[in-house]
Symmetry: C2
């Protein structure tokens, strides 16, 4: 399926509409296209061609928006790096994704420097360096093939190494279409983006902006006060957040109320605590709970406005282009019975980059086996019970226990490791580790922490380490992570 | 590309929203689905299977809406007959389209009776007869393939015989998507459908209703007073009309104004007279001029709201998923230069049913050569100068001169015939005919009119007949229809 280049099309249809608002500065779609053309001209001197992979470490800035659109307009596959990763983690993803270049924001210069010592990727460039390049020919694609890969975003899972989720132009298109058929669209809409652009939750806002022709209020990070001010003063109509952010926004709001111009708070990133939802109800905040993941190019299930009150705590129903069923013992489960959440739709990834086996494991006949547990109530509303594969969600970031365990097991005196999440007031959850040492050896908590810091992004580092004699396992020797928490009293006694 | 069944999906997402309002009666999406299931059960006893063709002669009623959705849900290709056609014309389309059944509204019983005497299609059924059938098994498709044919709608052209435009589920989907990205979407939207459901302009409203989840206010015919009352009292937000209808609405409105709830008057069916547009401006009527045709599954070019005033008379720019260029001498024309309008997009038909040659003639590399003339101004806005192939547009109905000429030439004493349109106060245009008789023979105007009535729908019958000695032709003997009008004074003298 062929569509015109989204950005050139949008600039043709509504050149004077505001595309991006960054602090006090406003950029129209015509300006955005112009800046994308200039950048593309410079990028063309690097010898990059359609289909090449380029790793990016970007902040939430207008320059990053220009970069993302330039890449799409050149048909270059973006490997969007979580900028909180360590240099080692970034290097791994770059190599795994066969990235030819690494382009980064100056803010991450330290990491880039470390990276050069450990990685074979030598083509690195900063955004500022790019601006000094001469201008080559400008050859934006006039058309986008919906089957072409747009992004590779890494996500972990039950195995130690992250996998690169491939998202096509079409995945992003259909995600945007599914969303608009649920949320509606007004020419005055403004979407506040304070989630990172390297996450699909932030990236999808960029895609919607050009497809819908609406403005983005772009925040570099999440500051509750700044967000509340934007909602109050800048006519923000929609905002995407995770629970921990929404809680902080409400705390900051105090006794005040949001203006009625705020018509949708899209709440993703894991099941929302009921007290938070109730607080929102009391304050007339229009919360739309959603369920989604990188593999579905953001939301795939969203609670429609008319059910906000009667189905509190539900993630809603699958968006118009998508389908969902609950599977239990390889059969479709009855209403209210818990099973695995299985989804299908044109927004669903075609698989993991160069991981045929992993792809086959989770994608069957077009259906994606999410590993998440949930049920459909008698009216067909989804309730997510537990995120997949012991996933820990900390402040909206996904943390996969297996990845941390794999790092810990790399420490010389560690024999086995098990990681799970515990509740945390501010972040929702944080990881904690259980470690079995080689017999006759010792390791201090600090040593393990230091080791993790070399290999893992800060948010993944376990907040506590418990030394134990044996991990809980089932008959087939599979680690029972959910049983780890039961060990805590004993572990404390042992320490 | 696979999507869930649109109607079952819509009934799952928003069962209690109003789908159809017919006079005082309201039907929710849940009721609509229920009625579609009942009808499908009955249809299944006829032995119809997915991919079969069924010809339909329907009025704008709730029953027709149920029929159209039932057909789509069974995967049956609908051949939508213009109910103003003669029995002979209908029979031709049914045979050409290989229709297995003919299902019609009782109102057209006379035509059906005539039809049985001239056609080999023996499987005819009325909507009422269908209701007496026993209920068989209900097997709605759970998914729609966007590549499957949904509708065949006949349109004529430069040659005498009409051609069946094939429209897929995908053509309708993308048409709806393109429209929503231009017009926006509100959960409170209500679209008034007073254009016939057998035209793509009316049919597309049905498609949008289930895809968007919005209500249709369904009118059986066009009565300006009833339409104005609905706009005033029933919160209609969008209405699709052609110029002659809009003029009558405004005349009927008199000194009154439309409420602000009416946010879009989608004006199609040929270039709009400037005085009408100016009158709408004076009265603050939000007119969205559009350009489209059966082959593009309705609008493909629409004027965005922000240009309504500054680009008066323009049809706008191609919708987000579509592209357009002006071709002159096989090259892209400069700004302001008149040439053929050529369009591309996922809403464009894949061709004419069993007319490979005709299809190849107009579809090249995915681009549809419309035969219409127009230009793009310096800002890229389309101005349609002249409809294709001497097309006559009379009250929103397309009339192809070649079709009428071909009928006239079937009259024993007629040697040659040429047909063109003249301006008409009420209908925009009406056809008139120029006839060359076999030498030494005579034919009266009344005889020719009577003959036409046997073969042509009433709106196609020439309003005047001029007997002349010779038709204007070019060097290669091609009829120059545009020169016919110059003959009128002479013709009158000759009579």
């Amino acid at each position: 399926m062929i569509l015109p280049n989204w950005l050139t099309k949008r600039a043709e249809l509504s050149p004077n509409r505001i595309a991006i608002i960054e602090d006090e500065k406003e950029y129209t779609f015509a300006q955005l296209l112009n800046d994308v053309e200039i950048l593309s001209g410079r990028l063309s001197t690097l010898g990059l061609k359609k289909g090449d992979h380029v790793a990016l470490a970007l902040r939430n800035t207008y320059d990053s928006v220009v970069m993302i659109h330039a890449m799409q307009s050149l048909g270059i596959v973006m490997v969007l790096l979580n900028t909180r990763l360590t240099a080692r983690e970034m290097a791994w993803q770059m190599e795994d994704s066969n990235s030819k270049f690494f382009i980064y924001d100056e803010l991450f210069a330290d990491k880039a420097q470390q990276l050069e010592t450990i990685s074979s990727i030598i083509n690195t460039l900063t955004l500022t360096e790019l601006k000094t390049l001469p201008s080559g020919s400008i050859n934006l694609l006039s058309e986008f093939d919906l089957n072409d890969i747009h992004t590779i975003i890494y996500t972990s899972g039950t195995t130690g190494n992250p996998k690169g989720v491939m998202l096509t132009n079409g995945n992003h298109w259909w995600s945007a279409t599914g969303s608009v058929l649920n949320l509606g669209l007004d020419v005055q809409d403004r979407w506040l983006a304070c989630l990172p652009l390297f996450h699909v939750s932030g990236l999808s806002i960029l895609m919607r902006s050009v497809i819908y022709g609406i403005s983005i209020v772009l925040h570099e990070g999440f500051e509750p006060k700044k967000v509340n001010l934007a909602i109050e003063k800048q006519n923000v109509t929609i905002i995407s957040v995770v629970s921990v952010m929404l809680q902080r926004m409400i705390d900051e709001l105090g006794e005040d109320q949001y203006p009625s111009s705020l018509r949708c708070v899209l709440l993703g990133g894991g099941p929302a605590p009921k007290p938070l939802l109730e607080e929102c109800m009391d304050k007339d905040i229009p919360v739309f709970q959603t369920y989604g993941m990188t593999e579905t190019a953001s939301q795939i299930v969203t609670l429609a406005p008319e059910y906000m009150l009667t189905k509190l705590g539900s993630a809603g129903k699958p968006l118009f282009p998508s389908q969902l069923r609950i599977e239990k013992d390889s059969k479709e489960a009855d209403a209210n019975a818990i099973g695995e959440i299985v989804v299908k739709g044109p927004n669903v990834t075609s698989g993991y980059y160069q991981r045929v086996d992993k792809t086959k494991e989770v994608l069957k006949d077009g259906w994606l086996y999410t590993g998440d547990l949930g049920y459909l109530d008698q009216d067909g509303f989804l309730f997510v019970v537990d995120r997949r594969n012991d996933l820990i969600i900390s402040g909206g970031e996904n943390i996969y226990p297996a990845e941390i365990e794999s790092v810990l097991m790399g420490y010389p005196t560690v024999k086995e490791a098990g990681v799970t999440g515990i509740s945390h007031e501010k972040w929702g959850q944080v990881p904690i580790a259980f470690v079995v040492l080689e017999s006759g050896h010792l390791a201090s908590e600090q040593e393990l922490k230091d080791f993790c810091e070399q290999h893992l992004a800060r948010y993944k580092i376990p907040q506590r380490f418990y030394m134990i004699d044996e991990l809980p396992r089932n008959a087939s020797n599979k680690l029972l992570r959910r049983k780890l928490l039961e060990l805590i009293p004993n572990a404390i006694q042992e320490q």
